[in-house]
């Protein structure tokens, strides 16, 4: 829990110039948009996976970093989106792709609501952690017995969609086209999450995280706020899974286990859970380590593990926190606000 976190999330970005942020983001978008022309197909695939992992990690951190709740079975929500979208495309549900994505997100949110209702009074700490782990395990069992979902082998050969806009067919069957769709979907999702955490609702999330009793005293319905946060988080994780299915073209039980649930946690801790952008930076760092060590079998796991230990011991606010500290030091205030 981060209820007593001494580092406030609000105001973190004030470390950087207000102009620099939009410039960096615009340049990054331009680079990513033209990446298919510049990058090897393998690297491009990992860039796409990083965007998906960034959304997944942001969804987890909305819960942990902003509301003070920990989910150890977030892969369950991701899998709901991935398997639903995989099945919708593979078996041709006759639904427009954008509707498929929306339904996937809603399914994730509804499952989060169901869990939230069950644990409404105690939706915190170990209760939520156990329930989410149980959800993931139950889903793995159900999928493992479902022939239509590929049982243990996974659901393969998922076709990429063609989006019918009425006046135009958006053909995403080529990987470059789907990549650009993925990029735009990522930007929209990240922007939506940014808006949520900076809205009145986001402030109530933080109030609950900082001190639930005090938040209740000032009139915030703590249980309701926690359930809403959990629903947004679950729905966003499901959306990340939904976007991944046509990208990888296969969904397997690898994505429905406790190990997969540790991925957004790892990315958030690595990048810094106290910052909105921390999970994104963590996802990029994790992919970078994996990619540059790909010729050394087993090295990436050791490196990631080692770096994570170092980050937790030396820089608990992650890479973003470390960068912030360095920036402040360069500006000459000794790293103090």
């Amino acid at each position: 829990m981060v209820q007593n976190s001494s580092t406030s999330i609000q105001g973190r970005m004030t470390t950087f110039s207000p102009v620099l942020g939009p410039v960096v983001l615009t340049a990054l978008f331009a680079f990513l948009f033209f990446a298919p022309m510049m990058l090897n197909a393998g690297l491009l695939f990992w860039v796409g996976m990083t965007m998906i992992q960034a959304i997944f990690a942001l969804s987890w951190n909305l819960l942990f970093g902003y509301t003070g709740l920990a989910s150890f079975g977030h892969a369950g929500f991701y899998a709901i989106g991935a398997y639903f979208t995989g099945a919708a495309l593979r078996y041709d549900f006759q639904l427009p792709f954008l509707v498929v994505l929306a339904v996937a997100g809603i399914l994730g949110a509804l499952v989060a609501l169901a869990i939230g209702v069950v644990a409404l009074k105690r939706l915190t700490g170990i209760f939520l952690a156990v329930l989410t782990v149980a959800l993931t395990e139950a889903m793995a069992k159900i999928i493992g017995l479902s022939k239509a979902l590929g049982e243990q082998d996974g659901l393969g050969n998922i076709p990429r969609p063609i989006i019918d806009l009425g006046f135009l067919d958006l053909d995403l069957t080529h990987s470059h086209d789907y990549y650009r769709f993925l990029l735009i979907a990522t930007v929209v999702t990240v922007a939506a999450l940014w808006w949520v955490v900076h809205s009145r609702l986001g402030r109530s999330f933080r109030a609950v995280r900082e001190d639930a009793e005090r938040a209740r005293f000032v009139g915030i319905d703590v249980a309701r706020v926690r359930v809403i946060s959990f629903m947004i988080s679950g729905g966003t994780a499901a959306l990340a899974g939904a976007l991944s299915a046509p990208w990888t073209r296969i969904v397997t039980l690898d994505q429905v286990n406790w190990l997969a649930s540790t991925q957004p946690i790892l990315n958030s801790l690595l990048g810094g859970f106290t910052s909105f952008w921390g999970p994104v930076v963590g996802a990029v760092a994790y992919t970078g380590i994996n990619y540059w060590t790909r010729t050394f079998a087993g090295l990436s796991e050791m490196l990631v593990g080692g770096i994570l230990v170092l980050v937790i011991l030396l820089a608990p606010t992650g890479i973003v926190g470390l960068l912030g500290k360095a920036t402040r030091r360069i500006r000459g205030n000794g790293g103090k606000k």
Partner: protein, 422 residues
């Protein structure tokens, strides 16, 4: 009238362009042939993947020692798929981006299922080295993939046939398998073959009891052992693998299961179980056998002999795993396809491989044209305890021809055992 200097300049420029083009062409014709290999080299799949990679590396060493392929050196580009489908997808894309159109991969079904649908999009020839899942040559089939191992139906049907033919006196059989599609299917294929071949073996149809299920990673088998001990069966198919299988044997032995069951067929642990149990190995334990260098027919096979010799020389180990032969066979299949096509062009190599036959460590093999499934002999070994180190030994190796045990080719359609003649 054109000046002489202008004419000379033109000729010189033309010669330069022609020479440049020829140099590019010649460089392409003499540059190394790059082959990608994507195996599970870390994580739970590593014990199998690293052995397959060793076999592939030896095949590369052998072909280069013999002067290369089409007069060109062969280079291996290796990646770790981590037993993960997303990794296998990324690796295939990376290979394609690097201009590699020939690859070996799919050391397990989960990675093969990620790789297979991509091969046409990437214009790649993909050799599926060891994934036995039925979808690879059925609903996920495409002309760019070739499988160099037996599928599950052939493998476990042949194991069932071997067990009943070698032990015709056993009239009642039962299976203990993990509760998943692989466990259910392998037990079903085993049981159907036992029923089918029992009449020919002993004149009477054997009884196959309902399969008992467990968890693939279970460590406590007391309930299942109790069920087995109280059943009428004397023959057993054991579908649990790796360390779970060893735990099962350790627990089963102490309650007299070895006396009750006269023969056991296991899923594929082979010498792993023998090494773990030693003197406590079941006396009539049958396994899927990929390669046993010192047993016939491998011992007198020249490809097998050379593979063993090179393995010892390159790896400094006298006891290779059977999986080495799988990686070796897959590489040879690709080499022979390139040699026959006389080019590395994807379409030409696919065309050449569709009716290719070649020699492997286990004898001659060929591809079935319709679904690119490899056909050849599948081997089964019988082992038991020994008084000498390592306190277990292989006593016998038998074979079943895949042609007799394979389902009709039905590429593009899901496999259904109930649609086959029983």
């Amino acid at each position: 009238m054109m000046k002489r200097r202008t004419v000379l300049k033109g000729i010189a420029a033309g010669a330069g362009v022609t020479l440049g083009m020829n140099a590019t062409y010649l460089r392409a014709q003499t540059a190394p042939i790059r082959i990608g290999a994507s195996y599970a080299l870390s994580g739970v799949g590593a014990p199998v993947g690293t052995q397959m990679l060793a076999g592939t590396e030896i095949a590369i060493h052998q072909i280069n020692r013999d002067g290369g392929l089409l007069g060109r050196e062969v280079q291996l580009v290796t990646r770790d798929d981590k037993y993960n489908s997303a990794e296998s997808v990324a690796i295939a894309r990376e290979f394609a981006g690097d201009g590699i159109n020939l690859m070996l991969g799919g050391s397990q079904t989960v990675t093969a299922l990620g790789l297979a649908p991509l091969a046409p999009e990437l214009n790649m020839v993909a050799i599926i080295v060891a994934a036995a899942g039925m979808p690879v040559t059925h609903e996920l089939f495409n002309r760019n993939i070739f499988r160099t191992t037996a599928n599950n139906y052939t493998q476990y049907g042949s194991l069932g046939r071997t067990l009943i033919e070698q032990n015709p006196e056993i009239r009642t059989w039962v299976s203990l398998a993990p509760d998943g599609d692989f466990g259910r299917d392998s037990a079903l294929f085993f049981g159907r073959a036992v029923e089918k071949y029992s009449e020919a073996a002993s004149g009477e149809k054997a009884t196959v009891l309902d399969t008992i299920y467990t968890q693939a990673t279970a460590t406590d088998f007391r309930t299942q052992i109790n069920q087995l001990m109280s059943s009428q069966a004397e023959g057993l198919y054991l579908g649990i693998a790796a360390s779970a299988q060893i735990s099962f044997f350790q627990q089963a032995r102490s309650v007299g299961l070895y006396d009750k069951f006269k023969a056991i067929g296991e899923v594929g642990n082979s010498d792993i179980t023998g090494k773990a149990l030693g003197r406590n190995t079941h006396p009539n334990l049958w396994s899927i056998c990929h390669w046993l260098y010192n047993q016939e027919p491998f011992a007198s096979n020249p490809v097998s002999q050379q593979l063993y010799k090179d393995y010892v020389e390159l790896k400094g180990d006298d006891f290779p795993s059977g999986q080495v032969a799988a990686g070796h066979r897959a590489a040879i299949a690709l080499f022979e396809g390139i040699r026959k096509a006389e080019t590395t062009d994807t379409d030409e190599v696919i065309g050449a491989m569709e009716n290719l036959s070649f020699e492997s460590a286990g004898g001659p093999v060929e591809f079935r044209t319709e679904d690119h499934q490899m056909l050849g002999l599948n081997f089964y070994s019988q082992m038991g305890p020994s008084t000498e180190e390592p306190y277990f030994q292989f006593n016998k190796v038998t074979s079943v021809d895949a042609v007799e045990m394979i389902e009709p080719a039905n590429p593009g359609q899901p496999f259904d055992i109930n649609e086959l003649p029983q």
